[in-house]
């Protein structure tokens, strides 16, 4: 979300909304004009150590009566609950429900309870679009949208409906003024994380061996995988690393991955960069290992789950894999983690301490902050929420993720810092392995290799648009 984008796009948006409203085929497009309200009362409180200026909007405030009623705010969540990322996304959604439940217990936002309308998209762009269309006139904003192509697919309708969305995808395109106007992303992106991680690994490897490492790359075929590939390939080219296997876009869940594993194994690469999901990781890594691969692995954040340490590959993964991090793992020693753990422990004492829960908190946090600001501005309509998001400026996450700047050009606002972690099997076993629980103090079993940092490559990258251009 960038302030100045509105001047760029306002004409387009207005034209789309006008056309769709005239055709009477877009719900929520023309009925969201706020009426004057009683001036709100401002108060100041603290949330997780942050000072938050909150405005209590009088109950009589007018709303559109559908997405916000006198007592309820409806939020939409479009989530992959049965697809390749469901393992992590369910943790994300369950964390969101825990935090919203606490907000409701404490009186809600602007005196209204939060209700979550959650739809399973199965990681299908078509289903994603269908589910969004069905909920468009019922929700104030989209508080979760899994997947890059999926979010990209509904973007024209988000703009037409004046809907803000929180993408659960770290596609570099969201920082592009041509794409990111109605989206409120957190953290860096797949492209930058590949640049940072490969830069660090190359320097570390060369320091130990006196030569540059060779690199294999294997990724998903969509915006996620190819955006990651773009960053990895750029890093290899800039650092003079030989790519001995190029499997960009070759990892397709549900298909025979033997060719990918064979390619990696036969490449003899010192490192393999993977951008996939945790389950296909087990197949690719397990098969490549059987076929004699002896190199190491570095993986994008969505590719990894510390629950992999509980599989037969656990010891091997702990010894041979690095994980990029766009956010701090659960239990990391950062200021913002206290509230996260307190709420989750109370809600799910028997639950495995999944790293994805931190993402759930971040989505909740930015959504809550925007809603509170919309209330301060006295406009709890979809358009009011978009305006509030544009007015935020920047957000700090107290160490849970690098701060986001929401105003300035793309080069200024793109977040470039990521971190590197290593799976920690000893810590995993010490807290009970897959039997670890939040109530017993369980946290993510990962050891920090680096703090959030921007490599020279990422820091100096001239960001004029997405690293990977859809259809480009």
């Amino acid at each position: 979300m960038r302030k100045e984008l509105h001047s760029v796009r306002s004409g387009f948006v207005a034209a789309v909304v006008l056309a769709l409203t005239a055709a009477a085929c877009t719900p929520g497009g023309g009925s969201n004009q706020p009426t004057p309200t009683t001036p709100p009362e401002s108060t100041t409180s603290t949330t997780g150590g942050l000072v938050v200026n909150t405005t209590v909007v009088p109950p009589a405030m007018n709303t559109d009566g559908v997405t916000v009623t006198d007592d309820t705010i409806y939020l939409g969540l479009l989530a992959d609950l049965t697809g390749p990322f469901s393992g992590s996304v369910i943790d994300v959604i369950d964390a969101q429900t825990a935090f919203w439940s606490k907000v409701n217990d404490e009186g809600g936002i602007a005196g209204r309870q939060i209700e979550l309308i959650i739809e399973n998209t199965g990681y299908s762009p078509a289903l994603h679009a269908e589910k969004y269309a069905a909920m468009a006139d019922k929700v104030l904003m989209i508080a979760h949208s899994t997947g890059s192509p999926h979010t990209l697919g509904i973007l024209p309708d988000l703009i037409a409906n004046n809907h803000l969305a929180v993408p659960v995808t770290w596609y570099s395109g969201w920082s592009d003024p041509a794409l990111g106007g109605n989206l409120l992303e957190t953290g860096s992106n797949y492209c930058m994380e590949a640049m940072n991680t490969i830069s660090w690994l190359a320097e570390d490897f060369e320091g130990r061996t006196g030569r540059k490492p060779t690199l294999a790359i294997a990724t998903f075929p969509d915006d996620y995988g190819l955006d990651s590939y773009a960053g990895a390939a750029y890093a290899a080219q800039q650092l003079g690393l030989e790519i001995t296997y190029n499997g960009a876009g070759t990892i397709i869940p549900g298909t025979d991955l033997l060719p990918v594993a064979s390619g990696i194994s036969q490449s003899g690469a010192d490192f393999t960069w993977l951008a996939a999901d945790p389950l296909t990781l087990t197949t690719v890594v397990g098969t490549a290992l059987q076929l004699g691969y002896t190199g190491q692995w570095s993986v994008s954040m969505p590719t990894f789950s510390d629950r992999l340490l509980g599989t037969a590959l656990g010891d091997y993964i702990a010894a041979n894999m690095y994980m990029s991090a766009l956010m701090a793992p659960l239990g990391a020693d950062v200021q913002g983690m206290t509230e996260v753990l307190d709420v989750l422990k109370a809600k799910y004492p028997n639950r495995y301490p999944a790293a994805g829960m931190v993402e759930g908190y971040l989505e909740f946090f930015v959504t809550k902050r925007v809603l509170e600001h919309a209330a301060e501005l006295g406009d709890m309509t979809p358009a009011g929420v978009v305006a509030a998001a544009n007015d935020i400026g920047s957000l700090s996450y107290e160490g849970l993720s690098p701060s986001n700047l929401f105003s300035g050009d793309a080069n200024a606002t793109v977040t470039r810092a990521t971190a590197i972690y290593k799976p920690d099997k000893a810590a995993f076993d010490a807290q009970g392995g897959l039997g670890a629980s939040l109530g017993n103090g369980g946290i993510s079993a990962m050891t920090k290799v680096t703090d959030f940092f921007a490599s020279d490559l990422a820091a100096n990258y001239d960001f004029q648009g997405p690293c990977y251009v859809v259809g480009g």
Binding site: D94, Q290, R307
Partner: protein, 423 residues
């Protein structure tokens, strides 16, 4: 009335109305001073009207009683809001640690120690009179200990189960329906809520009266809104709650009951969340609250099932009955299919969790052959489970081939399928 007298009267009236008169003529009871003089520096007292609020830590139950008595003895104090808990100050903790170390060196590892200034109190049971004397000497050898309150007895310590049973009896009254406790040695930790301050005091007194309990950590909250009444047996309430949930068409939620509070565990079905996640939660809560004897409810409902239950269920199944194939092929035998029928039921009972189907072989033959056989067998298991209604997204087949042989198993046992609960 002379004018001067009128002015004085009006001035006095004004002063009285603004409350200044109180401060001019009535000094606030000096509870803090009294406590400090009595040596209870770790307790902070504030006074509002005739009520003294005490906050801090007392070294022992006896000290706690003394603290309250000192506060009540101060002129002007009619009530005490006692928020002092029995525990140890940092200084005392340090001294306790030294005493415990001395006792361990002397061969006593399970005695309770408390300190109050330079006095140490030791309690517990020792084997004989010689041991009793040796323990006392060990304590008095610690620098900083000048006096010993020796409460050691010769003979066996009361069994923990007896103490537990006695505590249950001590907290059986209706006013303690929301009270739970933990026992740590001779310390009882009281948790939960009671309806009145009096009930809070009664709970503490009753627990301190239990033989085997010498200290309490009273964490009870006072909640005037708590209903007073007996809690029915948990099993009875849980059964009634299950019936209520079933009547409401809710099959995925289970209930556990503590006192009169129900805790909901389980999952929110995917087919319901499009109508509102919290709507389903509220429906489940309302069903359980309809049960007589349940007045409060908290929800732990989520989208994910219980990974531990799924993992242990599948492991137990395969431990008894491995998945069988025809020799050298990926064709499931009839017995293998029966095992997978049961596996499908277990997997379906815990939604939201993915299952890795791992194919393993022994080490005979080439890597490539073993990889292929393990992959085909894992794939065959996945295909069969799909025919039993398990959604495709929940099943991933993985070939580990001969990577992870069980060195204590036979070759036949190593040609196996294992289930792992996915990432």
């Amino acid at each position: 009335m002379p004018l001067l007298a009128v002015i004085v009267l009006l001035a006095a009236l004004a002063v009285w109305q603004t409350g200044l008169l109180d401060s001019l003529f009535f000094s606030e009871p000096d509870v803090q001073g009294a406590l400090n003089n009595a040596g209870f520096d770790s307790v902070t007292a504030t006074v509002t009207g005739d009520t003294a609020t005490l906050v801090g830590i007392a070294d022992s139950p006896t000290a706690l009683e003394q603290i309250v008595a000192v506060a009540m003895s101060v002129e002007g104090v009619r009530q005490v809001d006692n928020q002092v808990t029995v525990g140890e100050t940092d200084e005392a903790l340090s001294l306790i640690g030294q005493i415990q170390a001395a006792l361990v060196v002397a061969g006593f590892s399970d005695l309770e120690v408390a300190v109050n200034g330079d006095m140490a109190t030791v309690s517990g049971a020792v084997a004989d009179e010689t041991s009793l004397a040796a323990a006392a000497l060990a304590v008095l050898s610690v620098p900083g200990v000048a006096q010993l309150d020796n409460r050691l007895v010769v003979g066996p310590v009361r069994p923990p189960e007896d103490v537990q049973a006695a505590l249950v009896s001590a907290l059986a009254a209706d006013e303690f329906a929301y009270v739970s406790f933990e026992v740590q040695g001779e310390l009882a930790v009281l948790k939960g809520a009671v309806p009145t301050e009096e009930a809070r005091a009664h709970a503490a007194a009753n627990v301190l009266g239990v033989d085997g309990i010498d200290k309490i950590d009273n964490r009870l909250a006072v909640d005037a809104g708590l209903p007073i009444g007996p809690a029915l047996p948990a099993e009875q309430l849980e059964a009634a709650a299950t019936t209520a949930l079933t009547s409401a068409g809710i099959q995925t939620v289970s209930t556990s009951v503590e006192g009169r509070r129900a805790i909901l565990d389980g999952t929110v079905p995917l087919e319901t969340i499009g109508s509102g996640f919290f709507s389903f939660v509220k429906m489940a809560e309302a069903a359980v609250l309809s049960v007589d004897g349940i007045d409060q409810v908290s929800s732990r409902l989520s989208l994910r099932g219980d990974g531990a239950i799924l993992r242990s269920g599948l492991q137990a199944l395969l431990a008894d009955t491995p998945v069988e194939f025809a020799l050298g092929s990926a064709d499931l035998t009839a017995a293998g299919q029966q095992v997978l029928d049961q596996a499908a039921v277990i997997i379906q009972s815990q939604p939201g969790l993915q299952v890795l189907i791992a194919g393993h072989t022994d080490t005979a033959g080439s890597n490539e052959t073993n990889e292929a056989l393990a992959r085909q067998r894992a794939g065959a298991v996945r295909t069969y489970l799909l025919t039993r209604g398990v959604p495709a997204y929940r099943l991933v087949a993985v070939s580990y081939g001969e990577l992870f042989p069980d060195l204590e198993a036979t070759a036949e046992q190593n040609r196996r399928i294992e289930f792992e609960v996915g990432p």
